[in-house]
């Protein structure tokens, strides 16, 4: 009963924060439209990169052109979350550690990690999200694939797992800001690694493939949900990925609890 009440409270806080940021976005509408254009242009250029590549070779890592476009669609959906949610919160988090504003988070009567990870967001990448959905639907139609309800459910679960895994790994990395002064550029590592999410996991050779699938499973983030839609047998990988994500979530909690003891909040 108490747990249900707590969950309800956190749910209310989460959606209140989203509403607050929506109001803030609508306050400066021209900026929202311009950033939406930027986001759309970036998505078009990124797709153009793969169009040029697929002109050279008919396939990449054993995946044909339409499978690659399906993967890109899934990537665009994930990328919309990266720029709307993850990047903003993690930038704010590392800056808060540096300038002492973390005090404000620590003093609130809720879980600090929850607040840090959900406080901020923006809506300018919403078009990227819809472009991603459009690309997924278009690719499935071109390949004559009609996924079953079970496949769609599994796709959503793996996509959610991928986003959680990515976000908590990013959070662990950003927590290094407790140990180094001014570490803004740590938040540039994941955006620069996004190229990894745009290609099938089969392109990585030998030992690197093992690392990127099992040790730091970044190669699975978009490949796994895509392969679910393609009807490939990846059940073993999904089970592994599920337990890996749970471990990452737990590790992030332990690391944050340990690191926050190093915080002195001097700058504030």
């Amino acid at each position: 009963m108490i747990m249900l009440k707590t969950l309800k409270k956190y749910n209310t806080i989460f959606w209140t924060l989203r509403r607050m940021h929506l109001m803030r976005t609508l306050e400066v509408r021209a900026d929202f439209y311009f950033w939406a254009i930027v986001s759309t242009i970036w998505t078009i250029f990124n797709t153009l990169f793969f169009v040029l590549i697929t002109n050279v070779a008919g396939e990449i890592g054993g995946w044909n052109i339409h499978e690659i476009y399906l993967l890109l669609g899934v990537f665009n959906i994930a990328d919309a979350f990266i720029w709307s949610f993850f990047y903003h919160n993690m930038t704010r988090y590392t800056q808060a550690i540096f300038n002492g504003e973390l005090n404000n988070y620590l003093l609130k009567p809720i879980n600090t990690q929850f607040l840090v990870m959900t406080y901020s967001n923006n809506y300018t990448n919403i078009f990227r999200f819809f472009i991603g959905i459009g690309m997924v639907l278009w690719s499935l139609q071109v390949m004559n694939i009609v996924p079953s309800i079970l496949q769609i459910g599994l796709f959503l679960v793996t996509l959610l797992l991928s986003l959680i895994c990515l976000y908590f790994t990013w959070f662990i990395l950003s927590t290094c800001a407790f140990y180094f002064e001014k570490l803004d550029n740590i938040n540039e590592i994941f955006p620069n690694l996004r190229r990894m999410l745009q290609v099938p996991r089969t392109i990585y050779p030998g030992f690197l493939a093992v690392i990127l699938q099992y040790v730091i499973p970044l190669a699975l983030i978009t490949s796994l949900p895509t392969e679910v839609l393609l009807g490939r047998d990846v059940m073993n990988l999904i089970v592994y990925f599920f337990f890996f994500t749970l471990c990452i979530m737990y590790a992030s909690h332990i690391i944050f609890q340990y690191s926050v003891k190093k915080y002195s909040g001097i700058a504030n």
Binding site: W35, W42, F49, E181, L183, E188, I189
Partner: protein, 257 residues
């Protein structure tokens, strides 16, 4: 002139203040380069019609990482100074804001480019010994990159000056930056573009920022056409900057700073 040198020096010292941050800033592009090279390895494995060999592509991206420092940067601080009114203090000093920011950004970009160049040239010499890097070509590369830097900074500055009229202009500047990255060859070597597009692009400043400098350093292109075209475009963007700056001075108000 000496005061601009001091501003340049301050930018370098400022970057060195937080070394781990600087290290991450210098090497963040390394991940992108390594991953892009890996994609091209996968692509060329299945292709028989690639206009570049895999070693050429990898060397291209390594060299592009150096040009990236000098052509692809964010001058968001200019917009912030205008919006927050901090530019007033610059207007009172015996320095021109344009040259102040030009020197400051040059300090950051040059430091980043040098650090990358040391690492990346070492990689090229060890893993790609067939790459022809002659002293004269390296000097030509440095010259063309100086022109490329001036062009990029001036054009970014023109966009930033729009902050005198609009509240947030970084989105407009980012639209331009993405276009610049795509058309300069940072994302895809221009050899992969259709030949008609390449011919048209040659007369724009974009291929002279990354694609042609990488050819100049490897002795596959001449310095003169790039410098001529870049000089022409520098004059154009500089005149545009003067025009925007003059009208911005009439629009600028700084209250309570």
């Amino acid at each position: 002139m000496y005061s601009y040198f001091l501003i340049f020096r301050i930018a370098v010292l400022d970057a060195f203040e937080y070394r781990v941050n600087l290290f991450l800033h210098v090497f963040k592009y390394a991940f992108f380069t390594a991953l892009t090279a890996m994609i091209w390895i996968a692509v060329t494995t299945y292709s028989t019609s690639s206009p570049m060999t895999i070693s050429n592509i990898i060397v291209y991206y390594l060299l592009a990482a150096i040009t990236y420092s000098l052509t692809s940067f964010h001058i968001i601080y200019v917009e912030n100074d205008i919006r927050m009114g901090n530019i007033s203090s610059l207007l009172l000093k015996p320095v021109k804001p344009f040259y102040h920011y030009l020197s400051f950004q040059f300090g950051i970009s040059l430091l980043e480019a040098i650090l990358r160049a040391v690492i990346l040239f070492t990689i090229i010499f060890i893993y790609f010994p067939n790459t022809q890097l002659q002293v004269l070509n390296v000097i030509s590369f440095i010259i063309v990159m100086l022109f490329a830097y001036v062009f990029c900074f001036t054009s970014f500055y023109c966009f930033s000056l729009l902050a005198f009229w609009f509240q947030n202009v970084s989105s407009i500047r980012m639209c331009y930056l993405f276009t610049l990255r795509m058309l300069s060859g940072i994302v895809v070597p221009l050899a992969f573009f259709p030949s008609q597009v390449q011919n048209i692009l040659f007369y724009t400043p974009f291929p002279h920022l990354t694609d042609l400098p990488t050819k100049i350093i490897t002795g596959q292109a001449s310095l003169i056409p790039s410098i001529t075209i870049l000089s022409f475009w520098i004059i154009i963007v500089y005149c545009l900057y003067r025009l925007i700056w003059r009208s911005s001075q009439k629009a600028y108000e700084s209250i309570g700073v």
